[in-house]
Amino acid sequence: MSLIVLLACVAALLMTSVLGITAARTRVGTPIVYGACLAACTIALVAALAQLLSNAAVPTLVLPLALPWLGAHFRIDALSAFFLVVVDLGGGGASLYALGHGTHEEAPHRVLPFYPAFLAGMNLVVVADDAFTFLLCWEFMSLTSWALVMAHHRDADNRRAGYIYMVMAGFGTFALMLAFGLLAGPSGGYAFEVMRAGQHGPLIAALVLTLALLGAGSKAGLVPLHVWLPLAHPAAPSHVSALMSGAMTKVAVYAFLRIVLDLLGAPSWWSSMAVLALAGITTVMGVLYALMQHDLKRLLAYHTVENIGIVFIGVGLALGFKANAMPLAAALALTAALFHVFNHSLFKSLLFFGAGSVQNATGERDMEHLGGLIHRMPYAAFAFLVGCAAISALPPLNGFVSEWLTFQAILLSPAVAQWGLKMLIPGVGALLALSAALAAACFVKAYGVTFLGRPRTPVAAQAIETDRFSLTAMFILAALCLLAGILPGFFIDALAPVSEALIGARMPVQATDPWLGIVPIAASRSSYDGLLVFVFIGLAGLITATAIHRLASHALRRSPAWDCGTPDPSPLTQYSAASFAQPIRRVYGTLAFDAREQVEMPPPGDPRPAVLRVSLRDLLWDWLYAPAEGAVRVTADRLNQFQFLTIRKYLSLVFGLLIVLLLVLAIWL
C-alpha cells in the first residue's frame, strides 16, 4: 500500500515538473509548483512513517519498465522507509520554505521544472530494488540537481561548480556501476534480492567496499572526494542547497549502507578500519575548512562534510562490531549514525533556510558584509540560533544526543579483538571530540558575525524580516530539533526496525523509561535524559530570573558601548569572520592548510599602509586533483594529434590495431 502511495507521489512530482516548464513564466507558477511538491512530500512522508512504525510486511513491486528482461523493481524495507522519511521531511520543509523564498527567484524557469524532478529522483533511489533502476534514478537525481546548481549560470563561479560537480558525479556513478557489476557476478543477477543471496569472496568484498566508498562517498562528501560539495551546494538556490545538504547526502549514505551492510553480506573488520579512518579525517577536515570560510552558505556546505564524517564514524563502528559478533554494540553504533542522519537533515535544512533568508534580505552571502541582523530579522535570527545550538551538539537539543550515542559506542569498543581497530578507534574518538568543539567555534563565528554586532554595510542595516512561509518552515524544523533532543527515546525506538534488518539486533526499548530518558546499554553504565536536563535548565533560569527581579535592582540604562572607554564608531573595528578564525588558523592551519601570514611593514616615514597577507592552500586539491587534472590535460593534448592525421595514416593505424588484436587472440587462445 505504502509503495503504491509513494510511487503515485513520485508520479505527481514528475507531472509537476512538466507543469513547471509551462507555468514557470506565469506569476502563479511558483506557488502552484511548490504547493504541489509540499502536498506530494507530505503524503509520501506519512506513507513512509506508517511503513516504518507499523512493522507491516515489506511491500515490493515489479513494473514492466527499463530493461525488458529485468523490469523495474521497487521495495520499501525499514532502511528505505527511514531514508524516505528523511528525504520527504526535507523535501516538505524545503517546499514550504520555497513558497515564500521562491518568489524572490529571478530565473524561476530554471528552477521550477527541475525541483520536483529532483525530489522524485531522490525518492526513487531509495525505493529502487535492482541495480539498473537504482543507477538510473541515481543519475537522474544527479542530473536534476546539476541543473539546479546551474540555475544561476551567468556567474562564472557557478559554472565552475557545475563543471566539477558533473565530473565528480560521473565518477561516482561509474564507481557504483562497477560495484554493482561485481556484486551481480558473472551470472548478471541485477536484482538486489539475487545479490543479497549471493556469496562474495574477500577480494570481491574489498573491491566492492572501495568502489562503494568512492561512489557513495563522493556523493556524500567524504574527504578527499568532497571537493565538489562546497562549490555546488551554495551555488544552487537556498531551498535546493538545503535539500542537497540535508537530503541528497543522506541518499548517498543510504547507498553505502545498502551496498555494504545489506547486499555485501557479513562485513570483515578491515572494512571497518577503512571507513573509520576516512570518516575521522573527514570530520576534522570538514569543520576546519568550514571555519576558514566567510561565505555563509559555503561554511554550511563544508560543515555538511563534517557531519557526514560523524555519520560514517557510526557506520564504521557498526561494521567493526558486526564483524566481531557484538550485535548490541553494532545496533547502538548504527542507531547513532541513523539518528545523526535524521538530526543533520533537520538542522542543516534549517540553517540553509536561514542563510537563504539572509540572502533575500540583504543580497549578501559574505559574512564580512553582514552583522547586526538580530535586530532587523528577530524571528529568523532566533530560528537560526536554535539550528546553530543544535548543530554544535549542545544539550538539550538533538545534535548532542546522536553524538553522545556515538561516544557511547566508542566506549564499547575495547572489546573488539583486532589490534588495528583497538589502536584506530581511540584516535577516531579524539578526532570526533575535536570536531565537536571546533563545530561550536564554527557556529559561534557564523552566528556572531552574521547576526550579532553592528551592521557592516548599509544593506545589512536595512534588512527586513523574512516572509511567513519561510519562517513557518524554519520554526517547524527548530521545534523538531528540540523535540528530538528532549524525547530521543521515541526516535531511537522508531529506528529499531532498521537496525534489526541490517544487524539482526536492536537497542533496548527506550520509551518504557519512566522519566523518558535514554539508556543505551544499562543504567549503571550510562544514561541521559534530555527532558529532565531541559526542565532543569528552564527551572533554574526561571528561578534565577524571578529571584533577581524580586530582590535585586530593576534599573536599566542604555548608553553607548563601553569598549574600555574608547569605542570606535566604525563597524569595521569589530571582529570579522577572518579575525575571529585567526587564532584557530594559527593553531591548526599550518598543518591542515599550509597557512602562512606575511606582514609588510613600510619603514618609518613611508605613508604606505602596512599589509597583512594570509595564504591558505587547499592541500588536497594541490596534491590530488591538480595533478590529476594536469595529467588529463597533457594526455588530451598528446592525443589531439590523432585528429589531424592523413587518411593513409588512419588506415595504417587501423591495420596495426587489427594485427595487435589478432596477435593477442592468438596468444590468449
Binding site: L394, A433, V444, G517, C564, D568
Partner: protein
C-alpha cells in the same frame, strides 16, 4: 519517604555549591595576597561584590540585543545544573543519572557557547577578541576533557559520575598509569577552562592577553553578578569533579545516615580549602603565558588524555 530524603539531598547539594562558590574565589584571592605579602581583601569580599552588583543598575550598550540580556541567565542556569550533577559530599544524587559526565561537559559547552555569542553581541573589538580566543582554547580543552572522560569511563566501566566516584572509592581501583595521565590532563583542562594563570589572568582588565574578562567587558549590574557567579560555580564544579574522582575519601554513599553525611560535608569543605590553597600557590609561582603558547599547554592535556585512553584500549591493566 526515601524520595523526599533524596530530593532534600539534591536540593542541599544545589544550594551548597551556590553558597560555597564565591567563598572559594575569595579564599584563592586571599591566599594569593598573603603569598605575595599583601594583606588582601577579606575572604567574604566576593559575596559583598555580588550583592553590590545586584543592587546596581544595568548599563546596557545601545545596540545590545535580547540575546545579550538573556545570555547571563542561560549561562548561569546551565552551569548551575552542571554543578548540581557533580557529587560533592554524597554519591547517588537523585538526578545524577539524568546527565552523565559527557553531558556535564556539554552543558558547560552550552554555557560557553552563549558567553562567546554575548561577547560578540555589542560589536566591540574587545568582545570579539575574547570570544575568538575563548573558542580557540575550548577547541582543545573540550576534546582533552572528553578523552579524560573516556579514560575514566574505561576504568570504571561507566560514564555516570556517581558510579565512577563509587568505583574510585572502592578497593577495586588500584594505581594505574592511565589514571595518572587522566589526573594530569584534567588539572590542565581545569586551569584552562577556569581562565586561571598561566592560561588567562582572572584579576586583570584591559590587557591584550585577556580572554574571559574581554568577553564580559560590556556586562554590568545584575548581569555581571550572574556571570561572575557562574564562573565561581564552574571553579567549584571542577574542584568537586577532581575531588570526587581522585580524592573520593569521605564521600557518603547513596543510603548514608546523618553522621556519615556530616563527615561527607566536612571532608568536602576540607577538600575545597586544600584545592583553593593549592591553586593559589600554583598561580603565584608561575607566570602568564603568551596566548599562542596556550595551545601547546592544552594540547599536552589532549595528548595525555588520548594516551590514557589508548593504554586502556591496549590492556585493562595499565
Amino acid at each position: 519517604m526515601a524520595l523526599i530524603r533524596d530530593l532534600a539531598a539534591q536540593f542541599v547539594e544545589m544550594v551548597l555549591v551556590l553558597v560555597l562558590a564565591p567563598g572559594l574565589v575569595g579564599l584563592v584571592r586571599k591566599t594569593k595576597a598573603r603569598l605575595t605579602r599583601r594583606h588582601g581583601a577579606s575572604v567574604l569580599q566576593p559575596y559583598r561584590d555580588l550583592s553590590r552588583l545586584l543592587r546596581k543598575e544595568v548599563v546596557l550598550a545601545e545596540n545590545a540585543s535580547w540575546l545579550f540580556r538573556v545570555a547571563p541567565y542561560l549561562i548561569f542556569a546551565a552551569t548551575w545544573v552542571a554543578a548540581a550533577l557533580v557529587p560533592t559530599f554524597a554519591t547517588g544524587l537523585l538526578f545524577g543519572w539524568s546527565a552523565d559526565l559527557i553531558a556535564i561537559i556539554a552543558l558547560l559547552g552550552s554555557a560557553r557557547f552563549f558567553l562567546a555569542l554575548a561577547g560578540m553581541d555589542v560589536g566591540t573589538s574587545f568582545g570579539g577578541m575574547g570570544s575568538s580566543r575563548e573558542v580557540m582554547i575550548a577547541s582543545l580543552a573540550e576534546p582533552a576533557m572528553l578523552m579524560t572522560v573516556f579514560t575514566l569511563a574505561l576504568i570504571a566501566g561507566s560514564t555516570q559520575l556517581s558510579t565512577i566516584a563509587a568505583f574510585m572509592n572502592s578497593p577495586a581501583v588500584g594505581l594505574s598509569v592511565s589514571l595518572g595521565l587522566a589526573l594530569f590532563a584534567l588539572i590542565i583542562v581545569a586551569i584552562a577552562e577556569n581562565a586561571r594563570i598561566p592560561v588567562d589572568n582572572p584579576s586583570t582588565h584591559l590587557e591584550l592577553t585577556m580572554v574571559h574578562e574581554a568577553m564580559v567587558l560590556e556586562y554590568s549590574g545584575r548581569h555581571l553578578a550572574l556571570i561572575e557567579l557562574s564562573s565561581a560555580l564552574k571553579l567549584v564544579l571542577y574542584v568537586s569533579l577532581i575531588a570526587c574522582i581522585f580524592a573520593p575519601w569521605g564521600l557518603a554513599g547513596a543510603q548514608a545516615g546523618a553522621a556519615v553525611l556530616l563527615i561527607g560535608v566536612s571532608a568536602y569543605l576540607a577538600k575545597l580549602t586544600a584545592a583553593g590553597v593549592l591553586l593559589a600557590v600554583f598561580e603565584t609561582t608561575i607566570a602568564k603565558m603568551r596566548v599562542f603558547r596556550v595551545p601547546q599547554f592544552v594540547g599536552a592535556a589532549l595528548m595525555l588524555g588520548l594516551l590514557g585512553t589508548l593504554l586502556r584500549f591496549v590492556s585493562g591493566s595499565f
